[in-house]
Each structure stands twice: as C-alpha cells, then as structure tokens.
C-alpha cells in the first residue's frame, strides 16, 4: 500500500537508505563522509551461443538490464566488478558477445574468472579481453583483491580429457562424478601472501572470487578445496570480506575475521523455487532443479545487490523482483552478518509447493 503515492514512498525510502538495482552496489563508508564510495556488482550471466548470431535471449536480457540499470545509478559507483561466468561454454563468440553488452557500462570494470569462462582455453581469450586472472588494487583506503578460484588439479586440467570442449563440458555439470574441486592453488596463494605483505593489518580487505572461499557443498563446487589455506593468509587482517558469485542464490557466513557474501546471478536462480523450503537446513543440499512449468517471469529470483562497506565491512541490500528488499549487514553484537529484519517463521513468505 505504501507504493501508492510518491510521498509515502519517499518516506519509506528514507528508512531504507539506498535503493534498488539490477546488480550489486557496494557502498564503503568511513568516518569522514567524503571518503564514502560505492561500487556495483554484476555476476553470472552465462551468455550462451546457439548458432550463427543467435544467443539465448533470456540470458542476454538479464545482463542488458543489469548494465542499463547500473548506468542509471545514483550515486554513481566508482567502479563495477563482474563476478565471473560471463560465458556458458567459454567460446570466443560468447565472451565477445558478453563483452559487447558490458561495453555499454560507463564505469571502469574489474573482471573475475568463472569456470564457464575458463575451461575451454584456460582463460587465454578472456585474458585478452579483460586482463590478468588475478590482481589487486587500492581504492580510497580499501585493498581489493581479485582471485581466480576455479583452478583445479594439474592432471585433471591438462591430461585427463581428449579435447578442450570435453573438459569444459565436464566442468560445467553439477553433481558430476567426473568433475573436480575448485582451488586457488599454490602459485596464486604465494602471490597473495606477497601482495598482502605490504598492506597494514588495519586496512579493510575485500576479496572477489568466483567460487566461495569456504566449503559449502562439493557436488556443485560451492566449494574451494584450499579454502582453509586462503583463509589463513587473510586471518591477520582485522576486517576482511569475501564476495563471490557462482551460487546463483543468497548466502552469507562468518568464519573468524572473514565475512562471506554471495551475489545473485543475472541469468537464472538456483534452484527455484525449493530454495525457500530448504532454508532451514544447514547444508544447501539443493537437489531440485528449476521446475516451473512456465517460468513466466524470467527475472524472478535473479538480481543484483547494493553493497555498503561500512567501516570496512560489507553490507548487501538485495533487490528481489516481486519480493521484499532484504539487507544482510554485519552485526557487531553477534560478530557476523545477518538479515537486519530477520523474520519469524510465521511472517515468512511460504514456499511454493505446487506448479
């Protein structure tokens, strides 16, 4: 009812603070308001080539919308992060098409590597388009790190498969016994140690990876095999946030000093709609595929979010089409992120259990 007049709406907006977007917007605020800044986050578009100049329309539309809305943002984000899986099968056609849609963005963009971008040519063409697979940069007092967390064993990558296409296909499946767990790997961990050696321990650290740098569910590679080792490198820092894509759903967690947040996909939600029903279980053993008879509203359960990096901690505001906006913020009392309006069972939207 509050939406019925602009005046009422503005009143509500005052409570919400920043608003709604088709991607993630991260806001970093510091003691001096002049240092505040925001960045936007778009992820998991899975641009998929059919043949010739045909691409899957729905995935295209998801990314186009995110780009269009990012360009309208007020306040303007300082930069954009793309969270990986721009392509579906890592081909030139898909990466080029995705890059073309992304080129409409008016901001500097940092790209994270996803497994769907990587396993055809091991990132060769992606690097030409988007730059190094891992790097770091400083922005207004925050140290940002981009990792390629979707690497795996040498044997699996270089020796097991007869063709690059087969390798890509094996890695893109879920619950695939032929798959292999993601990892950051020794070489990159060494780089990370060296990169962080010169950073003061009080500097807020924000790490971008495609897979969660924590172990959630191996069958879907909601998993990074050397997560503990990476976490150990990040441990000496007072405020660390890890933001990852890959999971196409909302997740948040706290391990020691590290806050973890996922971002949503622009392509499809995973899964739909049983994710509501399974929210109570601790492990996301989400074995039900998307099974809407006719997923009419294609953007349902996809999206993007605002991030507000208050005092170096990341708060995320999720914009959910046809649903209520939710904010997951760092809770100083509990020492971990939580939904700021955690809802009693009776107030939750019940899961859809019929089709």
């Amino acid at each position: 009812m509050s939406r019925n007049s602009r005046r009422d709406f503005l009143k509500n907006a005052a409570l919400l603070g920043v608003a709604t977007l088709p991607m993630s917007l991260v806001r970093l605020s510091f003691a001096k308001s002049g240092d505040d800044f925001t960045f936007a986050y778009i992820s998991d578009s899975h641009i998929q080539h059919i043949k010739g100049n045909q691409f899957v329309r729905n995935w295209d539309m998801g990314l186009k919308r995110a780009v269009a809305e990012a360009n309208l943002l007020v306040p303007k984000p300082d930069f954009v992060v793309y969270g990986g899986d721009l392509a579906q099968l890592g081909t030139k056609a898909e990466l080029d098409h995705g890059a073309e849609i992304m080129s409409a963005l008016k901001y500097k963009t940092h790209y994270v590597m996803g497994e769907h971008d990587y396993y055809l040519d091991l990132g060769a063409y992606w690097e030409k388009l988007f730059g190094p697979q891992w790097h770091s940069f400083d922005h207004k007092g925050v140290h940002f790190i981009v990792l390629n967390s979707v690497l795996t064993h040498h044997h699996w990558t270089y020796e097991r498969w007869p063709t690059a296409e087969r390798r890509m296909a094996e890695m893109s499946g879920l619950d695939n016994p032929n798959g292999s767990p993601f990892m950051v790997g020794e070489k990159q961990r060494e780089w990370l140690k060296n990169d962080l050696a010169k950073v003061p321990k009080s500097t807020p650290i924000v790490v971008f990876s495609h897979s969660p740098l924590q172990k959630i569910f191996k069958g879907w590679n909601f998993w990074t095999d050397d997560a503990e080792q990476v976490q150990a490198i990040l441990k000496p820092f007072q405020r660390v946030s890890v933001i990852y894509g890959h999971v196409h759903q909302i997740q948040y967690n706290q391990i020691g000093n590290i806050s973890f947040h996922s971002v949503m996909a622009t392509a499809w939600p995973w899964p739909y709609p049983q994710s509501y029903a399974l929210a109570e279980s601790h492990l996301p053993v989400l074995t039900v595929p998307m099974n809407r008879a006719d997923p009419f509203f294609e953007r349902d359960a996809t999206g993007w979010q605002f991030m507000n990096v208050k005092t170096g901690r990341v708060d995320l505001t999720y914009q959910l089409p046809n649903n209520t906006t939710r904010t997951v913020a760092f809770n100083a009392k509990t020492g971990k992120p939580g939904d700021i309006a955690y809802q009693e069972k009776t107030k939750r939207i019940p899961p859809q259990d019929h089709y």
């Binding site: 503005l10 539309m61 007020v74 006719d294």
Partner: protein, 373 residues
C-alpha cells in the same frame, strides 16, 4: 490497512456453481465479489448523486468538461477512438482514457497506479491542467452548495449533511459509489466458461486456447476458476512508450528521480511536467528500477469497444496489439527491445491462424448492461 467487509453479489454465487439453475440474470456472471469500503456503502441515493456529478460539466474551468467527456457511457466509458484524452480547451494528455467499467475491481487507479482508491482517483482530473483545468477544488464545493437540488441530494445521500459541511470527501464518495455500480460480466465468454453454454464458435475457443497457451496472455490477464478480471493488477514494461524516450533523456530523468530519492527530497516539478516522463510509467511513482516503463495490466473486458490500445493509445487495433506481443515487445520490426522489458515478454511465434483466433476470442468479452447506444 483497513479491512473492508465483503459484499457478495449474486454473480459470485452463480460463478461458484454454474449448475445453479435459475440463477439471477443480473449481468454479473464471471465477476468476483466486490470489496466495498466500510466508510462508503453503496446506496441508491448516493449512486444517483454520483452519476449526476460524473456528468456535470460545471466542475471544469470552461464549464464544458465532465468526467463523462473522457469516460463516455456511449463509448464503453472511454473516449474511443481518441488516442489520448482531450480535456480543457482541447488540450491532450499523454495517456489513453481507460474504461470505468469494472474499474471498481482495480487494486490501484490510473495507468501507473498512483492512486489507491476510486475515492482518491476522482480528486485528480478536476485539478489537472489538461483535463478539467481547475486551480483547486473550491469552485466545485461552491457550485454544489449554491445549487439547491445538489444540497438536497447530498442531504439524502449523506445522513442529512448540512449545506456548509459538504466537502470533496462526499463528492468523491458519491462518484465512487456510482462507479462501483458500473460492473459488467456475463459476456459470451462468461456464459461459455462459467455456465457451459455453447456461446463461442470453434475459432473463438481455439483463440482462448492460444490465450492460455502459446500466447502467454493469461499470465497477466488472469482468468480464475470462478471469475475473471483479466488483470493481475501488476505493472509491466511491455515495450510500449519507453522507446520514445531518447536514451540520454531517460538516463537524465531517471537520475533526477533517483537523486531526489537518495537525498530524500521531492522530485523537481520540471521533471514531473516533462511529457517524456509520462512514459517512465510506474517508475515515476515507486522510484524502483524494476518498475521502469511499467504500466498497469488493463482488463480485457469490453476490449473490442475501447480502441485504440495501450497506455498511450499507440496501437490502433487488437491485431496490432497481438503483433506487438508476438514480436516480443516491439511495435515494428525496426523498433529495438528495451533493456527494462518485463521478464515475461518474449517472442511468441504465433501462426496467422492463432493470431486471428486470439483476436476473435477477445471480441467475446463484451458485456452490454451499462453500454448506452
């Protein structure tokens, strides 16, 4: 939120059990129960008064425009075939006049839903500079208080209200009460679907199959088991209007709105008055990006009588409407698909026969009780 008691009309009972022999023929077959606000019960006196107010041209700056000018009983309560409405001094607005028929069931009023009730809705056209052109509502109250017939009618309708106490509250309540009687079901479709009568032709039935199948129409133009309003009461960007806004202007206007929201200020008048802003639709009301270019799903009842179509009247015929949806949200092959398009709109690949039957089906939704010849 106020909960309104439900007033069940005979039609609801009919719809619930279409075997019900000897059901009252009240023209409401296929409509749900109507919610009537507890503070504005429908009475005969109030309805008669409301109709008179609705047709009175004195409540405009030139004395020539009434509600009925753009919502004419002779034109299914629209101003068909005008593209957009013609108000004071022949000034035209930016939106196509929606029918008042069955608007009592709408959860929001106006194409962008900026008004929550019928009572609130009727306040606005009086003081819109291109509609009825008054500066404020004072002349309306003055005219009424100085007209003995009106004073008497208000007394009858509102518990003997004093002449000096008549206000816009009573005026809008009377108009709303009248509008709540303008509900029409019992179309050929209703008789076929809810009563099992053989009122549709084979092609019209095929058209209904397209409507609920390949055509994907029913996802927004809802048909329920016991009644059908042919709307989901939501707002969708279907690729109409938004393409008229040059990209640069869209960005600039949207950012003006969002800046105002971010700074918790009111949006600048200049932006609100920019005719291009009209095509931002629901976004200008909620300032939610998901509402960019979105407009309310309109009912399809009496759609054959209310051409032209869409919020801007830009599509002349039902055939053009079907072609627009068949292209996936573009009015011509040259028109680009806008990035804010609602997630449900996609190319349909309908055959020529499917399109023809779909249009034939929509023409079965005409119901005549309140139509004046």
């Amino acid at each position: 939120m106020i909960t309104y008691p439900k007033v069940w009309f005979a039609a609801a009972a009919v719809a619930l059990s279409f075997n019900f022999a000897g059901a009252r023929d009240d023209g409401l077959l296929g409509l749900p129960a109507l919610d009537v606000p507890s503070d504005n019960p429908i009475t005969k006196e109030k309805v008669v008064l409301g109709e008179r107010l609705f047709n009175d041209t004195r409540f405009s700056s030139t004395g020539k425009i009434s509600c009925a000018t753009c919502h004419s009983p002779a034109k299914a309560f629209t101003d068909s075939p005008l593209k957009t409405s013609k108000g004071i001094n022949d000034l035209t607005g930016t939106r196509n006049s929606p029918t008042v028929l069955n608007s009592a069931f709408n959860l929001t009023q106006f194409w962008d839903g900026r008004s929550p009730t019928l009572e609130n809705q009727s306040l606005h056209p009086f003081v819109n500079s291109v509609e009825m052109g008054l500066k404020d509502h004072a002349p309306i109250i003055e005219t009424i208080r100085n007209d003995p017939a009106y004073v008497e009618a208000f007394k009858k309708a509102f518990n003997g209200i004093d002449q000096g106490k008549i206000s816009m509250t009573e005026v809008t309540r009377a108009i709303a009460a009248f509008e709540r009687t303008l509900i029409d079901g019992d179309s050929r479709f209703d008789r076929w679907y809810y009563k099992g009568e053989p009122t549709l032709t084979a092609n019209e039935i095929k058209g209904f199959q397209v409507f609920i199948g390949n055509g994907r129409c029913v996802s927004c133009h809802a048909v329920e088991h016991t009644s059908a309003l042919f709307t989901d009461h939501k707002f969708h960007n279907i690729g109409v209007g938004i393409n008229r806004i040059p990209g640069k202007d869209l960005a600039q206007m949207a950012q003006e709105f969002l800046r105002a929201k971010y700074n918790r200020e009111e949006v600048d008048e200049k932006v609100l008055k920019n005719p291009l802003a009209s095509d931002l639709g629901r976004f200008a009301v909620t300032l939610e990006m998901t509402d960019m270019g979105g407009f309310k799903t309109s009912t399809l009842r009496n759609i054959d009588l209310t051409a032209p179509y869409m919020h801007d009247g830009s599509l002349k015929t039902l055939d053009e409407v079907v072609e627009h949806y068949n292209r996936g949200g573009a009015s011509s092959d040259k028109e680009p698909i806008n990035p804010y398009l609602s997630g449900g709109i996609r190319p349909l690949n309908l055959t020529t026969a499917e399109k023809k039957n779909l249009v034939a089906f929509m023409k079965t939704l005409t119901s005549g009780k309140h139509l004046k010849k």
